[in-house]
């Protein structure tokens, strides 16, 4: 990297530290000053006079120049910490983000960035999803990743995490976009997932180090999720949910939206059904999405039809009572008429063979393979 480019990046890093400087403002300032270095050289009060910054902000801008060297030190320590700082001037900067009117000035990256020559899909949905939503997200993540689609998501609890876990299971690449600093793991219980995503994909954020996961950050990061994706798949969303904000952004950016239909009585699927009503593509299986990416997909969505054939009669019967929607042992016993202990034994067999899963307590649900 030339000395000049290096200097530009240093100034961008410094600019990223200001909470009041969004991508749009920085872009305006750059048009004014000609280069990022130029922005630094202009007095804060002058920016305020031109009306680019407010008065207080101008003073802050001027004051912050004293800390420039300290910020620089932090910038140079990034590499040792395994964090890449990629600015809009860099070659690696994702091409998918460039056309956005509010494209982030720079990105913090651990791991890698999505490849430009491979399709990418955002999997989004409710944090408090039902077993159905989680299981489908995981299944789609797995199948799509296996077929070379990169899975983009928010590494949050619920559908996001499930989709990315699936992608890892499928051995594909998955990228997590954070709403906080890259050195912060939120939600904490996803720590294991974080590290795995870094290894087989990457985590990306535009927030500077140490930024806490503020509520207002999430809608901002959602535009990167939709921006980096070629299409968005909504697994489960309530009415007026955060996922629908991402869908809105995706539509503005001209991306395709896929939605998983749900039962009309499920409040958790109402958002999805609404999307379909207003024109999103209804998705019957991973094949529909792969078809959109012109990837051939042979396998049909099946609930383990193949392995089901090997089951004994009673197991088959119990299996037929179990749904994606988890059922309590009590109901299974009542419906099947088998004695309790026999039911427990067969269910455990099914669980061990990976056909069903115990979703907590004595509830059992089917697994998609």
């Amino acid at each position: 990297m030339s000395r000049e480019a290096q200097e530009e990046n240093e100034v961008i890093y410094w600019l990223c530290q200001f909470p009041f400087l969004g991508p749009a403002t920085i872009r305006r300032m750059r048009e004014h000053a000609g280069s990022f270095r130029g922005i630094y050289n202009i007095e804060g009060m002058e920016w305020a006079m031109w009306g680019v910054l407010k008065e207080g902000e101008g003073e802050w801008f001027q004051r912050a120049k004293k800390d420039f060297q300290k910020v620089l030190q932090e910038y140079h320590s990034l590499e040792a910490r395994g964090i890449k700082f990629i600015t809009c001037l860099d070659q690696e900067y994702p091409r998918r983000l460039k056309p956005l009117p509010d494209a982030p000035t720079a990105l913090f990256v651990r791991g890698g960035l999505p490849r430009e020559d491979q399709p990418s899909l955002g999997i989004i949905g409710s944090r408090n999803a039902t077993q159905y939503g989680l299981e489908v997200a995981r299944y789609f993540g797995k199948e799509l990743a296996r077929n070379g689609v990169q899975i983009i998501s928010g590494l949050a609890a619920g559908v996001d995490g499930a989709g990315q876990t699936g992608a890892l299971e499928g051995g594909g690449c998955t990228y997590g976009i954070l709403g906080c600093g890259i050195n912060i793991c939120y939600p904490r219980e996803n720590y294991g997932l974080f590290e795995r995503v870094v290894k087989s994909g990457g985590i990306i954020t535009e927030f500077c180090l140490g930024e806490p996961p503020r509520a207002r950050n999430f809608p901002i990061r959602n535009r990167i999720i939709s921006g980096l994706s070629d299409g968005i798949f909504v697994a489960e969303a309530r009415e007026r949910s955060g996922s629908l904000i991402t869908v809105g952004l995706a539509l503005e950016q001209g991306k395709d939206v896929f939605a998983l239909p749900g039962r009309i009585t499920d409040p958790g699927s109402r958002g999805c059904n609404q999307l379909i009503q207003t024109g999103a593509s209804l998705v019957n299986g991973p094949g529909d999405i792969l078809e959109f990416f012109s990837i051939k997909f042979e396998k049909k969505l099946s609930l383990h039809e193949k392995s089901e054939k090997g089951l004994a009669k009673k197991e088959k019967m119990l299996y037929s009572f179990i749904d994606l929607q988890p059922k309590h042992l009590e109901d299974i016993v009542n419906q099947s008429g088998l004695p309790l202990s026999e039911c427990m034994m067969i269910l455990l067999e099914l669980e061990l063979s990976g056909l069903i899963q115990c979703t907590g307590g004595n509830y059992y649900g089917r697994k998609l393979s």
């Binding site: 499920d266 958790g268 309590h328 034994m345 004595n362």
Partner: protein, 537 residues
């Protein structure tokens, strides 16, 4: 003149015989009391003097000395009043108290001479019996309670005047004896006002409860509000074996000390079910106080301690249960000695699956995964480790809770439990049958010097097995061994979880009357595996 009369006081939960000695002699008039007395005991001086005056006895201006012997043990309580009054009268020569030689006198005095009831009468009379005394003079209100001790003549006393009158005509003294234990036992079975027939549906919950009781495993119920968790827990005593006389006495003693014994029934004949509120303090749970009194865990001894809304309990309160559950007794230490109370309980606990109670019904539950985890995380791990059986209650449908009859009764379940317990008794005692309360009956109370601590622990039930016993009694055939290994690896179960599964599987096999643990038993035990292994990895 000198007069000696037998009385008794409380020491921990046991009675101790105390002789009240009175002497009257010439000298400066006065009333001196000795014998390491607490304040309320020392105050007896005024009560006795005034009661005697109001009872119509005139005491001359003499020097009165009273000693409570053994003099080196701290005396507490007001049980000695009546005996002191009698001793003083005897020492003055007003009464001939020789008929009290084989009797014990206990009671508190009012200023007008009436005799008032005291706490812990059962322990006091029991101490008298052990000392070989034949009759007890008790406050009228306590007479019923005292009569629970077999073979002791009970003479109710209403006032000091009546008492003096009795002593003047020793031939006319007519006491009564308590009902035989057998008669009491008859009554006991009607005594439970709940039965498992009341619990509709919930086959899983019933079965888990049966397994837990049979092997005396602690049980944790999880389920939405109104799914029958509390109902099932409340019915656990009805499927426990009947109380033996010793156990009943032991339990009644504790209730007697706390003043909780009902007036009309001399003994507790049902197994206790205690359900402390979740705001309870650690001290209230284990017992304590300046003069230590038994806590909830001791009140539940021989029965069930039910912790409803487990996550709401203060961590400290729950944490303090660990040692008592391990040793089956509570030791409370004070500067003048330590007290040992029984803590021979089966713990059952209940909780909602999430803060709102509807999880996993996502159409109603809006709790985030984090909230649910936080909620579950409030329960301390060591206590979860002691819960062998965890069962999730299904939400109840309308049809289920409206249907009547057709439910199995407690008696039917109890007979199966008894059979399983018989097998366990034979296993752990080499053929000698044990009863539920064996380790709890006996001398609790203040630990005496030289007597040593009673922490000798022997296994009586599958639920109490340690690693050594599990290895000895839960052997698996090669096929089952391989199956368990598969479960262990696929389901990510901890070693401790594995031990729990083996223990519970042993109980299930016992219930089925099988020598070996079969695959079906293992499978059932796996479905009762613990919370942290079921919920979210």
């Amino acid at each position: 003149m000198f007069q000696k009369i037998n009385s008794a006081g409380l020491w921990g939960i046991d009675g101790m015989l105390v002789s009240v000695e009175a002497d009257v002699h010439d000298g400066l008039p006065g009333f001196i009391m000795t014998g390491n007395l607490s304040r309320e005991t020392r105050e007896a001086q005024e009560r006795v003097r005034t009661a005697l005056k109001n009872g119509g006895f005139r005491l001359g201006p003499k020097k009165i000395t009273i000693n409570l012997s053994p003099a080196d043990i701290r005396k507490e309580g007001t049980t000695y009043d009546l005996a002191m009054a009698a001793a003083v009268l005897g020492a003055f020569g007003i009464l001939e108290a020789s008929c009290l030689r084989d009797g014990m006198v206990v009671g508190e005095l009012g200023l007008n001479g009436e005799v008032k009831p005291v706490r812990g009468m059962l322990s006091l009379v029991s101490a008298a019996k052990e000392a070989g005394l034949k009759r007890c003079f008790l406050p009228k209100d306590n007479a019923m309670e005292g009569s629970a001790i077999q073979g002791m003549e009970i003479i109710p006393v209403e006032s000091i005047q009546e008492f003096a009158h009795m002593l003047m005509n020793p031939g006319s003294i007519q006491g009564f004896f308590g009902q035989a234990w057998e008669d009491l036992e008859e009554k006991a079975w009607d005594a439970y006002d709940v039965d498992f027939t009341d619990l509709n549906g919930q086959a899983v919950l019933r079965r888990a409860t049966e397994v837990a009781v049979a092997g005396r495993h602690n049980i944790l119920y999880i389920g939405p509000a109104g799914s029958g968790k509390t109902m099932a827990a409340r019915r656990i005593p009805t499927i426990l074996p009947a109380l033996s006389q010793e156990e009943s006495l032991e339990i009644s003693k504790i209730y007697s000390i706390c003043g909780l014994l009902p007036k009309d029934t001399p003994l507790i004949t049902r197994r206790p079910f205690r359900s402390p509120h979740h705001t309870i303090t650690p001290t209230a749970l284990t017992g304590g106080g300046a003069v230590p009194k038994p806590g909830e865990i001791s009140l539940a001894s021989g029965g069930v301690l039910f912790l409803d809304e487990l996550p709401e309990f203060a961590a400290k309160s729950i944490e303090i249960l660990r040692q008592p559950l391990e040793d089956r007794l509570v030791t409370v230490s004070r500067i003048y000695g330590s007290y040992v109370f029984p803590a021979n309980v089966m713990v059952s606990a209940a909780m909602n699956p999430c803060p709102c109670g509807f999880y996993p019904d996502r159409s109603r539950c809006r709790c985030s995964t984090r909230q649910i985890k936080q909620y579950i995380g409030r329960i301390s791990k060591p206590i979860l480790d002691r819960m062998d059986v965890t069962v999730e209650a299904a939400p109840v449908t309308y049809q289920e809770f409206r249907q009547h009859g057709r439910n199995e009764s407690s008696a039917a379940i109890r007979s199966r439990v008894m059979e399983a317990r018989r097998i366990q008794a034979a296993r752990f005692a080499g053929g000698v049958a044990w009863t539920e309360g064996d380790s709890c009956s006996g001398n609790f109370g203040k630990e005496m010097e030289g007597k040593g601590s009673r922490k000798g622990r022997h296994v009586r039930f599958n639920g109490e097995m340690g690693v050594k016993e599990i290895e000895a009694f839960c052997r698996l055939q090669p096929e089952e061994e391989a199956y368990l290994e598969q479960i262990y690896q696929k389901m990510n179960i901890s070693v401790r979880g594995c031990h729990k599964i083996l223990k519970v599987a042993r109980t299930i096999a016992d219930l089925a009357g099988e020598e070996e643990i079969h695959k079906a038993h293992l499978c059932e035990a796996v479905s009762y595996r613990s919370l942290e292994e079921k919920y979210w990895g």
